[in-house]
Amino acid sequence: MIEAHDLTKRYGTKLAVDGISFTVQPGRVTGFLGPNGAGKSTTMRMIVGLDKPTHGSVTVNGKRYAEHHSPLTQVGALLEAKAVHTGRSARNHLRAIAATHGIGDKRVNEVISMTGLDTVAKRRVGGFSLGMGQRLGIAAALVGDPQTLILDEPVNGLDPEGVLWVRNLVKYLAASEGRTIFLSSHLMSEMAVTADHLIVIGRGKIIADGPVDSVIAQATRATVRVRSPQATDLAARLAGPAVTVTPAEDGLLEIHGATAVEVGEIAAKHGFVLHELTPMSGSLEEAYMSLTSESVEYHSAALPGEESAPHGAHAATAAPTTGEDAR
């Protein structure tokens, strides 16, 4: 289990990670999703102590990573940039890492076979393709048979067979062996089929944290946004068994389960004044884009069943449309 509390990292004047708190639970694959530069890699580097947090803390199984007696059996990490001496053979690289924990060549050969590196294990790493380098990084992460696996963009450069292998491996380790898997990617499609739980980060802040289904549902469900000076009365009028109304801020409602046409007609029938009526829906890709771009308000809504509420809502007002179904 990984627990981050108010984790902050500042490089000079740039705030790479901005006071994030989250928990990565064992027994499931947690996806860490966000655009490039959102702070994914920095967060992962802080977990294994390569970067020092400017503020806040992060622990693995209750202790700071460096305080574990046997770090590599606690956490196996594949981090973004290559971390291999290019002049050394793959096998010697793994042997050297394994030796620091008294792990013998038997386990080294095991992970070489597991990651499909048998034929190239004696070659120098400098000549490896991106995919081979990635497999070696995964082999190094697995060598300590760790309780927690942190993989930064693991499918980068892998062929389809490799992508499938990583997907099945992490699912197996989480579901069957109860291990903690923390996986970053900027590919929503890959996450959708691999992860059980999603943490979405953008510009150093967490914008969504919940089960994959609910994050996707939340982000892709057709939503209608209504702004009205009589919001409370309108909400009472709209609410029904199939319709949920969430008051977002003063005078603003988010409605799920009703179309803009229906909302507009109900409002007209009862003489409510509307200042805004916006239908919102999107594909998976669009949902991700809107989740990760600060100008959209999705991040203001808390996900059901989650204790960690996303950050302060500052909804940008979209251009008001009235009456008509914009679709």
Partner: protein, 287 residues
């Protein structure tokens, strides 16, 4: 968070695993790393060939040189002379090796793997240093033994052989290996501080080769006073016999009179300061 902790499954118990990070294991890992890159083989190979070869070549030049009365070099009768010359050049190879041992990890990103495996960081620095010192000391002993043995074999008849039975000779001979290992460590410390191969190698070569020439030839008092305390100049005191040191002290323009071990102590002080700063920064900086 306590409720979450309670629900954590414990099916995968790490406590049962024998794997454990320890300093002995770290040494083993660094030993594998040290010998599994080509730069080690190259630099140690060049060091051995150059040192042993130069001892033989310079000995050859010595025995063929005219006597001092006829305008030859004054120290042509000095049996340790060829080794000292050879070491002055051979030390460059071990200096390069020392710097590369740590800077190559930074330039390739390997350091992130190393520090993830040993997140307390400082043990990585110490174990690397120990492996380097042991390996260079061993190689230097071999070079000194091979060079002086060949010198005795070829030039004994010309009166230019090292007298191994002379106890005064043992300290400079072993001292040469100690000096070379310490120079490798000094270069390693600079590499750990600078994290950049070219910068570290340039700095150590500057201090070992260029600085003595500059400090010795520029007639400016402060430089003259600093000259005996340059790392290479001070450390090489250990490679000389007491008799040689007395001659050198007598000709010193500032009356510098460091014993062999005092001179070596100055070099060790350089190492301690640079390595100490490097250690503090390793602990503080992001990797």
């Amino acid at each position: 968070m306590s409720t979450a902790v309670a629900t954590e499954p414990h099916r995968h118990a790490t406590a049962e695993k024998p794997y454990r990070l320890s300093f002995a294991h770290l040494l083993r890992g660094e030993w594998i790393k040290f010998w599994s890159v080509r730069s080690t083989i190259w630099t140690l190979g060049v060091f051995l060939v150059a040192t042993v070869g130069l001892v033989v070549l310079i000995s050859l030049a010595y025995v063929n040189a005219p006597s001092p009365e006829q305008g030859g070099p004054p120290d042509a009768s000095d049996a340790l002379g060829p080794l000292m010359f050879a070491v002055t050049l051979g030390q460059l190879a071990v200096a390069v090796l020392g710097a590369l041992t740590i800077t190559s990890e930074y330039t390739t990103g390997m350091i992130r793997s190393s520090l993830t495996a040993a997140p307390k960081r400082l043990p990585v620095l110490w174990s690397k240093a120990i492996v380097l010192v042991v390996a260079v000391f061993g190689a230097a002993l071999v070079a000194v033994a091979a060079g002086t043995a060949l010198q005795s074999l070829f030039f004994d008849s010309k009166g230019l052989s090292v007298d191994f039975s002379d106890p005064d000779m043992i300290r400079p001979l072993v001292g040469t290996a100690v000096y070379l290992a310490t120079i490798a460590l000094f270069s390693f410390a600079l590499g750990a501080l600078m994290r950049h191969s070219a910068a570290a190698i340039a700095t150590v070569l500057g201090l070992l080769l260029v600085a003595p020439i500059l400090f010795g030839s520029i007639p400016w008092k402060p430089l003259t006073y600093m000259f005996p305390f340059l790392p290479g100049v001070a450390g090489q005191q250990l490679t000389q016999t007491d008799a040689q040191l007395e001659v050198a002290a007598a000709s010193s323009p500032i009356g510098a009179d460091l014993t062999a071990w005092q001179g070596y102590g100055v070099l060790v002080l350089w190492v301690v300061v640079v390595l100490g700063v490097a250690a503090i920064l390793l602990k503080k900086r992001d990797a």
